[in-house]
């Protein structure tokens, strides 16, 4: 149990892969041996690639009748001992919402890959968007926490998928690889290492699977068939899983722990990357996913022009990198958030900083061009007092 190094199933070396394929490779490397999915553009290639890879490593694949069935089958498999994954996009994610809440409530580890496309509704199925940033956190009813990671390259979707499985097992929580069509359909080189660090579930027979004395702790998780006579329910439950739907204290304690186990350990989860922040830039760009690539290009061009522009790249979206965002923004005159939605993460940053934050939204189904950011910063951001 816990973190350990294993030999990867893919021979080490350089591979030229599509983002969706690299995601599937990362999953197999992390020990994923169960995948339930349903076809959807632009995420189907994750499923198709993992079907090919499961032949070499005895993985179990099922194409379910819909996305509700996919996530349900994953939760069943997770309790049977699997590290399960599915891949989807906006419409499928919407269908999964009820069972995402169930997974959070029952503390079931699973990884959901969301290759975001331009919504709402059917929208533009083949084109990129970042419209699900808030939905992954708030889409299911009630209070809970999830983890969401945002890759900007094919290498990173490989690495982050491995990390997603480790975080799911470590915290017993649904983890999202919150990517986009831009990265999902991009082709780049990926370096696969010989060794992979994986997290193995703590089974701890006889211990309560839904409680730990450690405040905000993560209890051990036995499997079906281990003789533990597990009681798993989405209803409010006590430490051993007995339904306690009429006891206020049990509900309060349970929900507080579900939220606390992620919030209290945000520092262990949160991961960011920064460029040109050392000289206290006037303009701070905060970006993630495919848009962060445009933001980095823009920052370089603007710096060549003599403007002090820096970039904070969010590799973790949820829990939100609050401390880093606040610290990075402290000495900047302006904070600009370019993103492929109408300001979803901008609003989150605005909540943290007691000041105006400039949103640079784009919802036209295209990746953002560096020139758009460059022109915006030239005209708007630096000219403001």
């Amino acid at each position: 149990m816990g973190y350990r190094k294993i030999r990867g199933v893919t021979p080490p070396g350089q591979y030229f892969l599509q983002g969706d394929e690299a995601c599937a490779e990362g999953a197999v490397a992390a020990g994923c041996r169960f995948f339930a999915g349903y076809p959807i553009t632009p995420a189907s290639e994750v499923m198709e690639h993992i079907v090919r890879r499961f032949k070499d490593c005895d993985g179990v694949f099922v194409q379910m009748e819909d996305e509700i069935g996919s996530i349900a089958a994953m939760i069943g498999a997770s309790w049977a001992g699997a590290k399960p994954m599915t891949s989807t996009s906006g419409p499928g994610l919407s269908l999964m919402m009820e069972n995402i809440g169930y997974a959070a409530m029952t503390e079931t580890p699973l990884v959901i890959v969301d290759i975001q496309r331009a919504g709402p509704s059917t929208g533009q199925a083949t084109r990129p968007g970042s419209g699900d940033m808030l939905q992954v956190k708030y889409g299911s009813h009630g209070d809970y926490e999830i983890i969401a990671l945002s890759p900007w390259s094919v290498q990173e979707i490989y690495d982050m998928t491995i990390r997603a499985f480790n975080l799911a097992e470590r915290f017993r929580v649904p983890v999202f690889v919150l990517s986009d069509e831009g990265v999902g359909h991009l082709r780049e080189n990926v370096t696969v290492e010989q060794e992979v660090t994986v997290f193995e579930r703590d089974k701890a027979p006889g211990q309560p699977p839904f409680h730990t004395d450690e405040p905000g702790g993560v209890p051990p998780m036995p499997c079906f068939g281990d003789g533990e006579k597990l009681l798993v329910t989405g209803s409010t439950h006590d430490p051993f899983g007995y339904r306690k739907t009429q006891v206020s204290e049990v509900h309060e304690r349970l929900v507080s722990r579900l939220v606390g186990k992620i919030r209290n350990r945000a520092d262990e989860i949160v991961d960011t990357d920064s460029y040109f922040l050392d000289d206290g830039p006037d303009v701070l760009l905060v970006a993630y996913g495919i848009t962060a690539r445009a933001a980095l290009s823009a920052a370089k061009v603007l710096r060549d022009e003599g403007q002090k522009v820096g970039l904070l790249r969010l590799r973790t979206i949820w829990p939100f990198p609050e401390r880093v965002v606040v610290e990075s923004a402290q000495k900047c005159k302006e904070v600009v958030v370019p993103e492929l939605n109408q300001g979803q993460i901008c609003r989150e940053i605005e909540r943290l900083l007691d000041r105006d934050v400039i949103s640079l939204p784009q919802t036209n189904g295209e990746t953002m061009k560096p020139t758009k950011i460059i022109e915006f910063v030239r005209e708007r951001a630096v000219t403001q007092p």
């Binding site: 509700i68 069935g69 079906f224 989405g234």
Partner: protein, 253 residues
């Protein structure tokens, strides 16, 4: 419940939440007797159920692994557990609203896949837990809290549905036919592939009191009179069968 079955139960949660006269307790006993007679080890069994009165038959009562899931989805959850760990004996026990209405899609696809699950559908013809609303299994003309003038929609024939979708063991019994019901549950458990057992179970609280079905005992009597065996039904005309429920094994391949 007979004392010799206590070893299969979490008796600390007794009494069960079922209303007096509910047929689900008889079904619970029939399932445990079937398991007892087969000599199964409950530690190798997983019981999956959704939302509703029928879903409470296994959870939390059965001293085995139980997975009590979202409304309509137990068949899909069970599919994942069974596929990843085929050594588990996976049984779905839930109501008609759960399995045949909100979860109808998962039911027909499980039958199409012929996955090795046993699905026991406790059919009381109504949404009992939520206050007696009309179900996809409510007979024509019956009054419910959402059909005060009588149900005008035809009910599903669940056995025909599962048979058409490809289920390889399909049967229907009422809780009044306890011995054939136990035998059928045993056959379902022993069957490799998708087995579906529809169990007619009276709901005096929500169904009976709205439809002048009398006491719980009288509801059972009515159920006894309404049910005819498959063999007998073959000798009856369609007019005679109009208000009858055909019981027995429909698919045993």
């Amino acid at each position: 419940m007979s004392k010799h079955l206590y070893k299969y139960l979490r008796t600390e949660v007794f009494p069960t939440p079922f209303c007096s006269g509910c047929g689900h307790g008889i079904l619970m006993g029939a399932i445990l007797r079937a398991i007892d007679e087969l000599g199964y080890d409950m530690d190798g069994m997983l019981f999956v159920s959704g939302i509703g009165c029928g879903a409470w038959i296994p959870s939390p009562h059965f001293a085995a692994d139980t997975l009590h899931v979202t409304h309509g989805r137990p068949v899909a959850f069970a599919t994942g557990a069974k596929l990843f760990k085929p050594s588990l004996k996976v049984v779905v026990i839930s109501g008609d609203g759960d399995i045949a209405s909100i979860g109808g899609n998962h039911l027909i696809h499980a039958a199409r896949r012929d996955i090795d699950l046993t699905i026991i559908c406790a059919n009381n013809g109504i949404y009992g837990m939520t206050g007696g609303q009309v179900a996809a299994s409510t007979p024509l003309g019956m009054r419910t809290s959402t059909t005060p003038d009588g149900n005008r929609e035809r009910p599903f024939d669940l056995c025909k549905l599962v048979e058409a979708a490809g289920g390889t063991y399909v049967s229907r019994y009422s809780v009044h036919q306890v011995k054939p019901l136990i035998r059928s549950i045993q056959r379902g458990l022993e069957h490799t592939g998708l087995s579906f057992i529809e169990v007619l179970s009276p709901c005096p609280t929500q169904f009976g009191r709205r439809n002048v079905s009398g006491t719980a005992f009288e509801m059972l009597q009515t159920l006894k009179e309404d049910c005819v065996s498959r063999q007998k039904a073959e000798t009856m005309g369609s007019e005679e069968l109009k208000y009858k429920i055909v019981t027995g094994e429909f698919v045993t391949s």
